[in-house]
Subunit: 182 residues, 2 copies
Amino acid sequence: MRVLGVDPGSAVTGFGIVEGAPGHFQFITAGTIRTRPGEPMPERLRTIHHGLLDVIGEFAPAAVSLERSFVARNIQSAFRIGEVRAVAMLAAAQRGLPLYEYPPNAVKLAVAAFGHADKAQVKFMVRRTLALPPDFELADDASDALALAVCHLGRARAPRISAAVERPARAVAARGARIRKP
Amino acid sequence: MRVLGVDPGSAVTGFGIVEGAPGHFQFITAGTIRTRPGEPMPERLRTIHHGLLDVIGEFAPAAVSLERSFVARNIQSAFRIGEVRAVAMLAAAQRGLPLYEYPPNAVKLAVAAFGHADKAQVKFMVRRTLALPPDFELADDASDALALAVCHLGRARAPRISAAVERPARAVAARGARIRKP
């Protein structure tokens, strides 16, 4: 199964697509959708929504894996996070793709086998899991998005939507992944 | 100018369209977009987004007036509010409509000339301002949406987006509004 991971952000939204089953992952693509600083939020949301529909159209994932935060710096920050998450949820619904949500700790646990891994550790493990060559540049947000896709694929029986956030993800040991698209 | 007011909610989203200039308002349409209880959020967002695009397509407003909250019960509630607001912002951007945001107090001040008016007072003044007949049923969320449209029209020079929330709205005295569509 091919899964699109999305790490939503109003400035930078990461996306990453991985195909596979538990223990065997294949990197398909990854990248970021960037909005212009100072651009009004409606325009940013349009850019992100449009970008995600493009990625879905080109790579035809079968499911979307989205980070689910339970914390935010403050109420205003939570509004912003909700706004960007919404366009990812909408894009999934518009293309008939099931959406799965995972809290950051479950993603880290699935990729790095350590719920409190930092960004560098997650990126290291994403690179190793997907066998990305050392010279392959991977933005932080794209790495997080790939981790979300791996997190979903790493589950034997993935619970849908809100149920997903209740269960801990199991650690993933990946072998033999190869690169199809740089 | 014709303005679409939107009162976003994950269960019920109110919309209302008013045409006019300060002091002269004409009711065009109002209603609610309802989602099914227990429906997953991506589906709800799709329903709301689709409904708003339908309203924009049918009534061709020139601008969108959206409530901007600064408070929420908690972080989870703020995420939800942001999610629903996002699809309204996205619909406006996709149809090239400028979006204006007003805090609840500015809307109440514009319609009821009283920043802390309750829902019943706002509805009473919306009915009077738009000369709605007594037997015309108006849902709370549709009333709030009409108030948002009136709030935008009531401003002589409306500041865009975030600037809008900084200035107090002036009170509106409406006369001679007539109903075009029930």
